[in-house]
Amino acid sequence: MVAVPDELRRTGFAATERRDAWWVAPLLQGTVLAVLITYANWAALQNANYRWGGYLSPLYSPLITISWLPLPPSLLILLPPVLFRATCYYYRKAYYRSYFLDPPACAVGELRGNRYRGETAFPLVLQNLHRYLFYITFLYLPFLWSDVVHATSFGGSFGVGIGTLVILANTTALTLYSFSCHSARHLIGGSLDCFSCSAGARARHAAWKGASVLNARHMLFAWVSFFTVCSADLYVRLVASGVIHDIRLL
């Protein structure tokens, strides 16, 4: 163990000389995340009110109905996006801090003793497969964009309602979240050592630069897209259940 005298060795949980309210951020983040996760789970289990006219809740997209399955289809559909977020480099930071308290905040003591293995052992070593979840959820994007197109269809004629905008905003947020992914940034060009050594490398460098700009805002997109997914579902749900009426803009 490090030679630090007792006066300085404050390694117990939450031990720190920090005087700011370091616990606010992890608490707030943990709470909001819990609320969003709870809502998404609840909504996914309803198996009703996810559709109104051309509007489709993103939690149920792409819509696959399997009649013999005892579970709501949303659960199956949602598994890859959920795992994509669960292994996301940003969300990992958020839940390691807020839920694992490892660490709760910077330069603040934590709970666990000598068993720390980080992401070197099962199950957390599976975080390394994040890129496969990127591949799969990437395939969702065409469906989500087609949902936007469907949301402009009102009984066969073109139109725009509040719901159209909500769904458009959500699809945009999810697209930005996907393209700002750290794995995507690596695959697009980050894996190269020399950007100027071939025409292909130069093209990938241009793409990598774009991905880097988005990647710097990955945390923002992670939060915004989670909010928009839940908001879009809530909007469709409220309209479909007749609680509110969609307002037609065009």
């Binding site: 630090v4 006066e7 490892d102 330069a107 890129r131 050592d193």
Partner: protein
């Protein structure tokens, strides 16, 4: 105007925080206050410093519990009338007062596989575009203050110095791995020796970096992805086996 500094005085076996009352000057930084204490109250108060301009990374300490460079921390950053606590970095053994033994870091550096350039052009020099080196130049801004090592919970709380190189050396490895001239691969070193899997990307290193290097997003995560390429990606493994290059 005066303020009270509570400075840790002691060594690796025993010590205590002692109060020193210091006159405040406009524009004063914490390091000035420490120098004032040395000159007037405790000539043997130990602290490291060199450039006093945030460029050498010598005067790292924990000011009110936060890892910081003392030369770049203004006294008027703190509420007047409140004592300021000064402690040495806690991830390393304390030698005396504000000085700790950071020699472990130099040992880690020594084990990193050296830079190995590809052959030069016929004129004996290399061509590189600014685009190729922008990414690496960020990593080379590091001033080795070791504040990232200090705040990293893997080293600070879990004391995994035998298995984990820490953010500073992941940044250095990133500078070598992504160097446009370098021909060596360090992914095995990253996985086994440097223990990159121990990092759980909670980003405290990035928060404390006085050079604003995006340690986690630009160095560690891209390196984790490179380690995935070589060790965890099943399709790539299959592909390498099919091509017989594994």
């Amino acid at each position: 105007m005066e303020t009270v500094l509570k400075i840790f005085r002691g060594d690796g076996t025993a010590g205590a925080f002692r109060d020193y009352t210091v006159p405040l000057q406009p524009g004063m930084v914490v390091l000035d206050a420490v120098h004032w204490v040395q000159a007037h109250q405790a000539s043997d108060l130990a602290c490291r410093w060199n450039c006093k301009a945030g460029r050498c990374g010598s005067c790292s300490a924990e000011v009110n519990g936060k890892p910081r460079l003392m030369c770049m921390t203004r006294m008027d950053h703190f509420p007047p009338g409140e004592a300021i606590t000064l402690a040495p970095m806690k991830a390393f053994p304390v030698l005396k007062d504000l000085v700790c033994d950071v020699s472990w870091n130099y040992g880690v550096n020594r084990r990193i596989p050296a830079f190995r350039p590809r052959p030069p052009e016929p004129d004996g020099t290399w061509r590189m575009q600014q685009d190729d080196i922008d990414r690496v130049q960020e990593f080379r801004k590091c001033i080795e203050c070791f504040l990232c090592q200090d705040v990293c919970h893997v080293l600070r709380d879990h004391d995994r110095k035998d298995q984990f190189a820490g953010p500073r050396f992941l940044v250095r490895l990133a500078g070598l791995e992504m160097h446009p001239l370098d021909a060596a691969s360090r992914t095995a070193h990253l996985k086994e020796e440097a223990g990159i899997g121990f990092c759980n990307i909670t980003k405290c290193c990035t928060e404390v970096c006085p050079e604003s290097i995006h340690i986690t997003d630009n160095a560690i995560i891209p390196l984790k992805e490179r380690v995935v390429d070589d060790f965890y990606d099943p399709l790539r493994r299959l592909w390498r086996r099919l091509r017989g290059t594994s």
